[in-house]
Symmetry: C2
Subunit: 339 residues, 2 copies
């Protein structure tokens, strides 16, 4: 079947297109019987108003854009779920794009969303993104933007994240109070703010408990394959610094990589070495030993970021002032067998 147009309905009923259009919009100058006839026929013919034409009139696309570093991650699945729940409530659609952790692709995806005239953008920055000129384009288009999870503090917009520094500080303080003395850190790469903050939290916790920070106990995971980074750094750490008695890993997947290495070598967790993760990935409670970790509320991060974005879209539409918000959601320590 071809698309039903107003003209078809008009022709079938022998009335003008204007009357059909008015009937569908419930104008008072069209009789009830005509309205009924038009609406019945519209339903029978599966007429749907041309949404592009509607969009042209209202200048709204009722669509938002979401750019993630990757969809292949339990945490981001939860974030998507939270965003879709909020969008669903408001009858907004979500266009999803990946940056694959690449700056150039992130830039391209932003341009694509802007050319589609989305009403707002939700963005978690790629690990490569170190400068923010490409975000300026979003502001110049007067399009609301909310950064979440991997944010940049210097960008002037709303942000939703956790307090990574505090969460890492809590994790390392917990390890110190458990009696661990030589705590290594498997850190993330040097670019994203959350990786920097988790490292700073680690360092601060050591300093506040009179333990000297030793840079040779810090191992970088920068191959974007967390699991293998964890496995490889576990091998390196034990070879280079055999007296390490605990590891604070930047993600659960890094921690699980390390657990796999130690399990294979018969190194006992937590008796010989304790492992602490970050994000409370679903699998962290299913592996052996179960992983102690920081609970990072992915669903809530997605939900909150979307809610703020929709508020800003509403404010913009109604010419209300927009006040940027920086929300830090609570995290908590989950103690399991690995520590």
């Amino acid at each position: 079947m071809k698309e039903t147009t107003l003209k078809q309905i008009a022709t079938e009923l022998g009335i003008s297109i204007t009357t059909v259009s008015k009937a569908l919009k419930n104008y008072p100058d069209v009789s009830e019987s005509t309205k009924k006839a038009v609406k019945d026929l519209a339903i029978a013919l599966h007429y749907t108003p041309n949404s592009f034409a509607v969009n042209l009139r209202t200048k709204e696309s009722k669509t938002i854009g979401l750019i993630l570093p990757t969809v292949l991650h339990d945490f981001f699945s939860k974030v998507i779920d939270g965003i879709l729940e909020e969008a669903e409530k408001r009858n907004y659609l979500v266009i999803i794009l990946q940056s694959n952790e690449k700056y150039e692709l992130e830039k391209k995806q932003i341009d694509l969303l802007l050319s589609k005239r989305v009403d707002g953008i939700l963005l978690s920055l790629s690990n490569e993104t170190g400068e923010f000129h490409h975000l300026k384009t979003i502001f110049e288009h007067n399009t609301p933007l909310v950064l979440f999870d991997k944010i940049a503090k210097i960008v002037n917009c709303s942000k939703v994240s956790i307090n990574d520094k505090k969460a890492a500080y809590d994790a390392v303080t917990y390890l110190i109070k458990k009696g661990y003395k030589k705590i290594a850190h498997f850190r993330g790469s040097y670019m994203p703010q959350n990786s920097i903050d988790r490292f700073l939290g680690y360092k601060k916790a050591l300093e506040d408990h009179d333990i000297n920070y030793d840079s040779s106990l810090v191992f970088v995971c920068d191959n974007n394959t967390d699991f293998e980074d964890g496995y490889e750094n576990a091998r390196k750490a034990i070879a280079e610094q055999p007296e390490i008695d605990a590891i604070f890993a930047v993600t659960d997947l890094v921690a699980i990589g390390a657990i796999k290495y130690f399990n294979e070598r018969g190194i006992k967790i937590p008796q010989q070495i304790a492992i602490f993760g970050f994000s409370n990935w679903f699998m962290s409670s299913l592996i052996t030993p179960k992983l102690s970790t920081i609970d990072q509320p992915g669903f809530e991060i997605g939900r909150t970021a979307a809610a703020i974005l929709f508020d800003e879209i509403y404010s913009k539409k109604n010419n209300l002032p927009i006040v940027f918000q920086s929300i830090e959601l609570e995290t908590s320590i989950i103690e399991r067998q690995s520590t």
Copy 2:
């Protein structure tokens, strides 16, 4: 900054809107110097052609819709990744929606996508979906549809899946050849085709190897929480049928739930009971014991479904005939410690 319009550019340069429009489209009757002036100003003012107006002209939205039962699943993350890769190549955008395994929500999401005039729809059916009248609406709109993973054989459109019956048959035959005699099946709910087919493959493998099918060895997982279903059915299976020596589970997550129960009870895998999963979820190689399973190529399913959809969109646009395809991608047995 407000949106830049052709009028603004025309006013600033003191030329007509028609000339601006022609200059941007590289018409030969506009001088090179005017073209350059217009283009430079368009760039400086961040002018982007109004994509809704473009859409009205071309009747294409360059957007496809994707409806998943849930985003909270490793398999569907891979599917999304495959779809986004194909869309990216063609500069198409993907609107993502969830049905939350509910028929009514699936119906609503389809209507929403049709009202947005997407160029095509990719759909994996919800577990609740038992009748397909809501898909008729898609055909009546003349919108290409490709079903993937959870498909319905009776619907007349292109489909991408695996041969679930054959894969299950292979898995159970493998267990029989390993010497297991009392093989239970933790099956999925009664609705989705893949759950039915995996059950039929299990039954056929038993019959072909002269093992009587015994319905009391089949346990249903229908709470949509695979992990807990697996855990709970493991408890039930051992209590009701203690002589069971192997379990073929409908998904890896069901299998992992069962593993957790047996690990907690000190029941040795595979010595006392073997476990076989389905889908080769990332974590299946990281748990203890590592899970034997069927490799289900999620990325490839997504990629293939999207490629077929884009072919059909192209054919429709160019008035070429559309021949529906039913693709079954290859699966393979992954043997690990649990069997």
